[in-house]
């Protein structure tokens, strides 16, 4: 047991910090720190910087372009990039599809897609949720019927996907579709790669509480998908989906984000003249101990397993605690804003709109950020579902 990071880890931390300082543009950094909207080109710009350094795919194996970091290095990377004001690696091609293709894709699929994911040339949409299948993902009803014609074997896909993040920036989608309607819920689902420019795809943005439109509905009407776009075996898509959701758990607790927001709270509190407010000091201290407990728990559970894949129950625990803590910190931010949390304008969500915003620059986005943070306990398996998993594993006879 050792509380200090090794000299090599500290050197790595300095390396990441210096890289962020040298490569992150002031505009992007300011948007992240003020919780403002990031555009597609902001992400691409930053991701390509990371790519040029070999750091864009921390969770990928070395032979596919991963940096070969251990769990502590990955943890340090997450923390330093977020504290430095860099955008999170939100691309589902990098976070989700890449590991699935590496594990289950054909050589042709790997060759065709992986490099474009790394270079941010292709953005992938995640086509999992449907109006009737949220946390209960096995209830997907979008169908894919296999057939063949003069152009070869293909699937015809019909259905309706929803909550598809950033679909407006995506040229491809990976989706769970039902290929055997007679099989039990989890069986009969397949994992398909769908070109978003295919005829029959209709995209509708959903306007969210805080004014954002990054989530979409995707309607699929007789969309033709070449048979070679099937990943792995037919009717075995559920297990690939589970693999995907179980991957990339290192960052699941969002510790870097929590630290980023708590630092924001301290700065804003001082600016608002609340630096010596005893009740606020108490709350900040409470958040600090809860964050420390989360951080040490993540490091302990990772080191107990000595690898980046944390068993499902531990991952669920980190997800529940990390997301609820982050949400609570966002509530604290709203409290710090006081009456300034009330005025709202869509313009205040954009960097160039901030100056005319109704509230002081730093406060205009707090309430929107707080509302947006409610998604944390809903996506990736609602926290109630995580609690079911945690308890059932423990209470099993």
């Amino acid at each position: 047991m050792k509380l200090e990071f090794s000299a090599a880890d500290e050197a790595f931390r300095q390396e990441v910090r210096a890289f962020v300082a040298a490569n992150l543009s002031d505009d992007i950094k300011r948007k992240v720190e003020l919780g403002l909207r990031l555009e597609h080109e902001d992400y691409v710009t930053w991701f390509r910087k990371l790519e040029s350094r070999g750091w864009i795919t921390p969770g990928w194996p070395v032979e596919h372009g991963g940096p070969g970091w251990n769990h502590v290095q990955r943890y340090i990377f997450d923390e330093e990039t977020l504290l430095g004001g860099a955008p999170r690696i939100i691309a589902s091609g990098i976070q989700m599809l890449g590991p699935v293709l590496i594990a289950f894709g054909t050589e042709a699929q790997k060759k065709r897609y992986l490099a474009d994911i790394r270079h941010s040339a292709t953005w992938w949409a995640q086509g999992f949720s449907e109006p009737g299948a949220g946390s209960d993902l096995a209830a997907v009803r979008t169908t894919a019927v296999k057939g063949s014609d003069a152009d070869g074997e293909h699937f015809i896909v019909n259905g309706h996907k929803v909550w598809t993040s950033y679909a407006q920036w995506c040229s491809m989608m990976f989706a769970l579709v039902r290929t055997d309607p007679t099989a039990k819920a989890q069986e009969g689902i397949s994992f398909l790669l769908i070109d978003m420019k295919s005829p029959g795809i209709d995209l509708r943005p959903i306007r969210m509480l805080e004014g954002g439109t990054d989530l979409n509905e995707v309607y699929l009407d007789n969309v033709r998908v070449p048979a070679e776009n099937l990943v792995g075996e037919l009717n075995n898509g559920w297990s690939y989906g589970k693999y995907l959701l179980g991957h990339e758990r290192t960052g699941i607790a969002g510790i870097g984000s929590c630290k980023q927001q708590l630092a924001r709270a301290r700065t804003l509190a001082a600016q608002q003249g609340l630096g010596d407010d005893p009740l606020l000091r108490w709350r900040l201290a409470q958040f600090e101990i809860e964050l420390m407990a989360l951080e040490f728990t993540a490091l302990r559970l990772l080191s107990a397993n000595q690898k980046s894949r944390v068993p499902a129950v531990e991952a669920s625990m980190l997800k529940v605690r990390g997301t609820e803590l982050r949400q609570a910190i966002f509530e604290l931010l709203v409290d710090i804003a006081g009456p300034n949390a009330v005025p709202f304008s869509a313009a205040s969500q954009f960097l160039d709109g901030v100056a005319e915003g109704p509230a002081p620059v730093e406060l205009g986005s707090l309430a929107a950020n707080c509302l947006d943070s409610r998604k944390l306990s809903i996506y990736g398996g609602a926290n109630e579902v995580q609690r079911n998993l945690i308890a059932k594993a423990f209470l099993a006879p």
């Binding site: 047991m1 050792k2 509380l3 200090e4 990071f5 090794s6 880890d9 502590v72 000091r281 108490w282 900040l284 201290a285 409470q286 600090e288 101990i289 809860e290 420390m292 407990a293 989360l294 040490f296 728990t297 490091l299 302990r300 559970l301 080191s303 107990a304 000595q306 531990e314 625990m317 529940v320 605690r321 109630e384 995580q386 609690r387 079911n388 945690i390 308890a391 059932k392 423990f394 209470l395 006879p397």
Partner: protein
């Protein structure tokens, strides 16, 4: 940054667990110890090497660190056992080992390690709450000897200690950080009045009056007039160990609770099938992992010896263990239903220990305050 246990750690933990399973039968955990039972257990702890764990081998110990003490404390937490160990070994014993003269150490530590001697640390007073500098008891030089007067309260294991380390003021006013001195006093010395009592969680303690107790200068443990940093270190060590005890107690209580939920049926189904109860258990499990992690961090911070870092992490750990421990303890009673309210059911005994753990060596509010008033580290 490494939280993993090595093979020796695991072996120690397993040995202590076997000892506790034998000495503290599940249905008796938390019960008051009779003097005879307490003596047998104390001898057993000595035999296993637990009473000399952190001391030098030439003084009968095995030179282990706070990590090993944490592992032992966690098992004592699980079995509601180890009565007397915290006071003698963690609190007073380590204070002596760190600051005592070679003569003092060789006089008391081998005897402690072999189970012939018990120590206690008397630092609290009626008005001191958790302020270690609040000492009204006085030590005055009279004819070349010290004369100690004052009333010390809540001396853990003060009812059975052979030697009591008492904090008295040799200079300065009641709150001043300087002027404190620790004296080793024989519990049977003239003028020492021990009023034993039982704590909420069924353990021995005492209020101890010192009325004109005479000691020589060689009874001083550590530096005269500058005892506060020593005392703070000792109390931080005990607080860190209590975090580990809390982790063990929470773990055992969760096992008991799971067993109850699996077997107790209502509305035609085992309670474990009810989602509202499952979610409470999930939150208790998440609390457990956090307390375990903070207990590790606190032990490592105690070992590292960097004082600001130790204050910061021990305070965070103790505040969290206090809050979550009590929360889980009281939830454990609720999940046991009316049975949880009875003296027979062990759930309540774990709850009592967890409640007491929060109140000792600084409660959650005290440690939040200490953390908030420290510079960031």
């Amino acid at each position: 940054m490494d939280f993993s246990l090595n093979d020796e750690h695991v072996a120690l933990r397993d040995a202590v667990q076997r000892f506790c399973d034998g000495e503290y039968p599940a249905h008796q955990r938390g019960n008051l110890e009779t003097p005879a039972v307490a003596a047998t257990r104390w001898a057993g702890m000595a035999e296993l090497g637990l009473l000399g764990l952190p001391f030098d081998p030439e003084l009968g110990g095995s030179g282990q660190s706070a990590i090993e003490l944490m592992l032992v404390a966690q098992e004592f937490g699980r079995s509601l056992g180890g009565g007397g160990w915290l006071s003698s070994v963690v609190l007073a014993g380590q204070l002596l080992a760190e600051t005592g003269t070679p003569g003092q150490c060789s006089r008391w530590l081998p005897a402690l390690a072999s189970g012939e001697l018990r120590l206690a640390l008397a630092f609290g007073e009626a008005d001191s709450r958790y302020d270690l500098a609040h000492v009204a008891a006085t030590a005055r030089m009279v004819n070349g000897a010290y004369r100690i007067d004052g009333r010390k309260t809540l001396v853990l294991d003060g009812d059975t200690a052979d030697v009591i380390f008492v904090v008295a003021r040799s200079a300065g006013a009641v709150h001043e950080p300087h002027g404190l001195t620790i004296f080793a006093v024989d519990a049977k010395a003239h003028g020492v009045h021990v009023q034993p009592f039982t704590t909420l969680d069924g353990r021995g303690a005492a209020h101890v009056n010192f009325d004109g107790v005479q000691v020589d200068a060689d009874a001083i443990v550590g530096t005269a007039g500058e005892a506060l940093p020593l005392l703070e270190t000792a109390v931080d060590r005990a607080a860190a160990a209590l975090c580990a005890e809390a982790a063990g107690a929470i773990e055992a209580l969760l096992d008991l609770t799971a067993e109850h939920l699996r077997t107790r049926k209502q509305f035609g189904a085992p309670l474990a099938k009810f989602q509202v109860l499952q979610h409470r258990v999930a939150d208790m499990l998440i609390a457990l992992e956090q307390v375990k992690s903070m207990a590790c961090a606190a032990a490592m911070a105690v070992d590292a010896g960097d004082v600001p870092q130790r204050r910061h992490i021990v305070s965070a750990a103790k505040a969290l263990a206090g809050q979550l421990g009590r929360q889980v303890g009281l939830a454990g009673i609720q999940l046991h239903g009316a049975m949880g309210m009875t003296d027979e059911c062990r759930a309540g005994h774990y709850a009592k220990r967890l409640l007491v753990i929060n109140q000792l060596f600084g409660d959650a509010a005290h440690h939040l305050q200490r953390l908030a008033s420290q510079p960031q580290c």
